[in-house]
Symmetry: C2
């Protein structure tokens, strides 16, 4: 296991609970002492050594025999480099994001396009050929990216059922075109990953401190990447600051600004309408790509707009506000909230919009209390991730020769079956919410009243 932060520590008890493996057969390699006592609690070998470009092979190869599993839960280590190594050594692999080498998210020598998740995903899926028939290598399978791709499938089936067009035998995950046709037929224009984290701590955020319920480095890294979104076929015009990449699958665009300064309107059942951050995520691109329907000549007929609309915990909202005020110069202190959380939940799901029933949110409501009762060393946010990591690991073991696989290509019902006990309440809720609701009351606003689901209506100007 590479990396032993909030996700690594949280997944270990799940792995030991659900997978038959000798403790001796697990090694943790990580850059810091953080988590050493948790490793000791479970009797797991703990190697404190940062993986770098230079020592990658030397450090990891001796630990990886054919048939082993490399579970990458680190930051700052290139996912692509690790996947290559795993293919070479016939080792199963899973990560929860496509991670670049240290600094890759914020290297000013790279163009915003080169720093995008789009570019990183293209680099990862380019390994598909090389990995064909090789050991299963799951890219970007946590809660989101990851679990939410399975939520999308379940939501589509629910909407089909509830709009009188039930799908008796869902197509296999490998049949992209069939799934894209379901989404297109239902008229889904927009897919948000709509998340509201209400977890709060017993102590206030201090000035100069970045606080979050999961990796501070991970969140700051992605928050400073350009805002990115899968770009739907119903969109009438590219945003003024919107750009295509000019290479790759072309399913997504990026905005010429950091996601952490880009707000969008979204909705969850418990929070109601709110502003989330348009943080770039692998799933914004992979989902838009997966649900792209093409004609025989390869011309795009249908694609939904897909993006993240993230309301992190309140202290993280404040942390982002402070960080923006310092022009993205990182705060001197970081705090990953764990034991100090006193209440709240992570309401994480997908919001499918534009179909006959308006908007449909499908997802997990997991409170901090439930999370703590279910699995030690987790908060509500991490457990949604670690349950999905566990499910991905089990699926890879059950499907060991699939080569490179994205979340959308995995069996959603099997993954949901494994995750469900750890997701709290899993619910689907319809809503007549649209981003035009209550707009323009005090000030005129430039909206497209003819189609609520245009991105220009969703974006907060």
């Amino acid at each position: 296991m590479l990396g032993f932060g909030s996700i690594g520590q949280g997944v270990l008890p799940l792995i030991l609970r659900h997978i038959e493996i000798a403790r001796d057969d697990i090694t943790i390699v990580t850059a810091e002492p953080r988590g050493r006592e948790v490793a000791a609690e479970y009797g797991i070998r703990f190697v404190e050594q940062a993986v770098t470009r230079d020592n990658l092979s030397e450090l990891l190869s001796p630990l990886l025999r054919a048939g082993d599993f490399l579970l990458n839960l680190s930051v700052d280590v290139s996912s692509v480099a690790l996947m290559k190594l795993c293919q070479e050594r016939d080792v199963l692999y899973l990560d929860t994001v496509v991670e670049p080498w240290a600094g890759g998210y914020t290297d000013p020598a790279l163009t915003p396009s080169q720093r995008s998740n789009y570019a990183m995903r293209e680099e990862a899926v380019a390994l598909r050929e090389m990995a064909r028939g090789g050991p299963t290598s799951i890219t970007a399978h946590g809660a989101n990216p990851g679990l939410v791709s399975h939520f999308v499938k379940q939501a589509l089936l629910d909407i089909a059922r509830d709009t009188g067009a039930p799908i008796a035998a869902p197509p296999p995950a490998s049949d992209r075109a069939a799934w894209a046709k379901i989404a297109a037929d239902l008229g889904v224009k927009v897919i948000h990953i709509a998340e509201r984290d209400t977890q709060v701590a017993d102590r206030p955020k201090k000035p100069g401190e970045f606080v979050n319920t999961w990796s501070v480095d991970g969140f700051v890294g992605e928050g400073c990447q350009p805002a990115e979104l899968g770009w739907g076929t119903h969109e009438k015009a590219l945003p003024a600051d919107g750009h295509r990449h000019g290479f790759g699958c072309d399913a997504a665009i990026y905005l010429m600004r950091p996601g952490a300064s880009t707000r969008v309107r979204t909705w969850t059942p418990l929070e109601g309408p709110f502003h989330g951050f348009l943080i770039t995520h692998n799933e914004s691109i992979s989902i838009a790509d997966y649900y792209t329907l093409r004609d025989a000549d390869g011309r795009v007929l249908y694609r939904p707009t897909a993006h993240y609309a993230y309301h992190p915990c309140d202290d993280a909202v404040l942390s982002v506000h402070e960080l923006a005020g310092k022009n993205w110069q990182m705060q001197p202190e970081k705090r990953l909230m764990t034991d100090e959380i006193v209440s709240g939940m992570d309401e994480l799901g997908v919001l499918l919009c534009g179909h006959a029933k308006g908007a449909y949110w499908y997802g997990s409501r997991l409170t901090i209390g439930q999370a703590r009762e279910l699995v030690p060393h987790n908060n509500a946010t991490s457990l949604q991730v670690t349950a999905a990591v566990l499910a991905g690991v089990i699926w890879a073991i059950e499907n060991p020769r699939r080569g490179l696989v994205e979340s959308d290509e995995m069996d959603h019902d099997r993954i949901l079956e494994i995750c469900r006990p750890y997701l709290g309440e899993v619910v689907g809720v319809y809503s007549d919410w649209t981003p035009l609701q209550d707009r323009g009351v005090l000030f005129p606003e430039e909206v497209d009243a003819t189609d609520p689901w245009q991105f220009r209506n969703i974006r907060v100007a």
Copy 2:
């Protein structure tokens, strides 16, 4: 005394400490039971009755004899109506904002210009003629508006001294042109009211709760008004959403959006650079108007850009974020933080920019601990206000026949003398900060590199 919320309760002990008045001669009229126990503690008569358009004269006239003082610390009661009544009854008057009748800040039947502080101030200063030679009627004298106008004068004198052009005998406050010339000669282009409130409580903000260190209604009201700013002569272009009012003094513009959704870059000595909200305030207009230099034909030669750049306490930042997400539909619960504050300070001052020494911040740093030690029933925010209210009341008593007076027209040294014991550390600090610092590192940004002090550089896009 009209209204007995955070400011009313906080000023009462100061008045009793500094002004010789029999407790029997004070009456509190307020809309709610809030503060009843504080009134009782000091043995002050407490009348629980809301003042309305209809009952104003009937309710208040019997309480106001010639020579009395009406101290207006309420929300939802028209300042203009009260000032008229006081002129009629020969009664001294002070308020801390120009307040409209209930709902006036957010009446969608009014245009944004009509709902602006500009319009409200015009209506107030239109009473100048009527009040000439009458009882002193101080409009908008709290911390800001109020105290900060005196900070500006002190800051100008400090900068003059430190740039080798000391002003031996400062002009009287009544000599606007002389003061405007000082600012123009020093090259001051921009005046921010730059405030960072770091007060935090022992309990987190709840979802659905608006939390602030002073009036929640007051802050939400002004936050939903259009963003407004005094518009300087150095500005090259009106913002795309900027509008002139087309009537009145023309010192200010408004943006076609609420201030609570408009962020600006600013700086204070302890916080460093940060994003504040461009909340409209009376002083943005009064200061810009006061420091307007005209030629013999009345043409404007010089005016600084002036506006508020407010970082309220962290819980208020979150409250504003939540409110914006609900399209300005007020949260069901409100909480004015008092006893639950555990630490923090209000760093409130003025930032004068564009002169030979760059930027100069002059203001007060008052911690919650200091505030509590100095005067009961105050937090750091309220004490900066209540000290200024006290000073205004004393000044009115000392200068009883001045008619209508704005803060800029009062003697800054006398006011500062009275306030200083209650302001914690009062400091002036130079800085080489500009809004261009650290810009455009990760993403290209449209800035005017030839003049850092253009509003387009200051505004957060």
